[in-house]
Subunit: 214 residues, 2 copies
Amino acid sequence: MSTQNKISVYIVEDYLLTRITYKKSFQNYSDINIVNDFESAEGCINALEKQPVDVILMDLGLPYMTGIEATKIIHRKYPNIKIIILTSHENDDEVLSSLASGANAYALKDIDIKKLYNLICTVNEGSIWIDPRITKVVQKTFYKAEPKEKEDFHLTLREKEVLDLLVQGFSNTEIADKLTVSPCTAKAHVCKILNKLSVTDRVQAAVKATKYDL
Amino acid sequence: MSTQNKISVYIVEDYLLTRITYKKSFQNYSDINIVNDFESAEGCINALEKQPVDVILMDLGLPYMTGIEATKIIHRKYPNIKIIILTSHENDDEVLSSLASGANAYALKDIDIKKLYNLICTVNEGSIWIDPRITKVVQKTFYKAEPKEKEDFHLTLREKEVLDLLVQGFSNTEIADKLTVSPCTAKAHVCKILNKLSVTDRVQAAVKATKYDL
DNA sequence: AGGGCTATTATCCACTTGGATAATAAATAG
DNA sequence: CTATTTATTATCCAAGTGGATAATAGCCCT
């Protein structure tokens, strides 16, 4: 990412004092170069056009555009720029939205400077890092998103086709039309599907198919 | 976690040479104490009963019990033990399963010792860390898991109740029974739900409800 | 060649469904 | 106090649904 030795950094933070504090703190770290700091996301996004950086420290609660929206935009336009969310917000939704927007790290503001320095180095290499205090939400997300052990209901290819149409809300007749078979055939397929999925009606079949991603 | 100064570590890795290499490498790091190493997950799990550690380096491809299963078991039994998956596997499902199992980090084996040392310190504090080469999968997961902007279909409380039963596959009559109202009432609710969700039948309503988590 | 699975088609029947339409009472909001 | 919304009930009707049961043809494997 960085062609020089120094890691170039922008700070986006609406509170002046905080910006100054960070800037001063990093004067002791020779390989961190705080190129500029902004009180709004818009300012930062404009500046990136002329001078991209390696890493951005991004607050969440900003005037006008939020840190999450900004992260989304910057990540889309400059996929190589690493964004560290640096905030006091511990709201679960904000954590997840931030990471979904492409941030590489989520840190709470009381992080000490040495750790923040290490964090900047870490994300500059492309890693993802999550503050100890918010790992639970993140792990819960991983748990929910875990590739399910794809329960196998032994549906045939044809049945999967039918189930797919069923889930889209088509009636047996419509399914038959789409597959150019007789309505009786479609109906027979549906009946077999209901049996195989151990449900008694197509609504439950559709829900089960959606849940298990069949 | 660690009451002493040193971070205590177990290594689980079926290849003897690799274990030896790691052990030797960490002799230079005074605050890392490789307490023991195991060629199988079972050995590690047994040892934990007598002597827990702060951090475990866990391979994935192990004989008998896989690293993922072991991680799941250890994380459940000792939530404070931090597990670093250290493997050559770059398979997306294994990455996600590992993190879902409670691992705090996923690193690829060619990581250099200094970084691995930093990583051990980082996860010992409770952070989550993801290797740069597998961030894409993880970010994609965050993106998919992002709290959807909860499209609002202006369903009334009663309608949500009805929709809930509908999704479970109950017929209008059954819904009416459950809510102790007349079948006509249940039917009227369903009709209104279909209109509000802009769908023409209950299957689509159920699917939409499931997708949008109504 | 024969056994098992799949896809296809079919019929009967009681029950369910969705659309259209509307009336009433209760609660809520302005 | 009045307008709006919600919950309740109802009816008609054409269409769709699910269960049970079964026959036929094609395919793959042994």
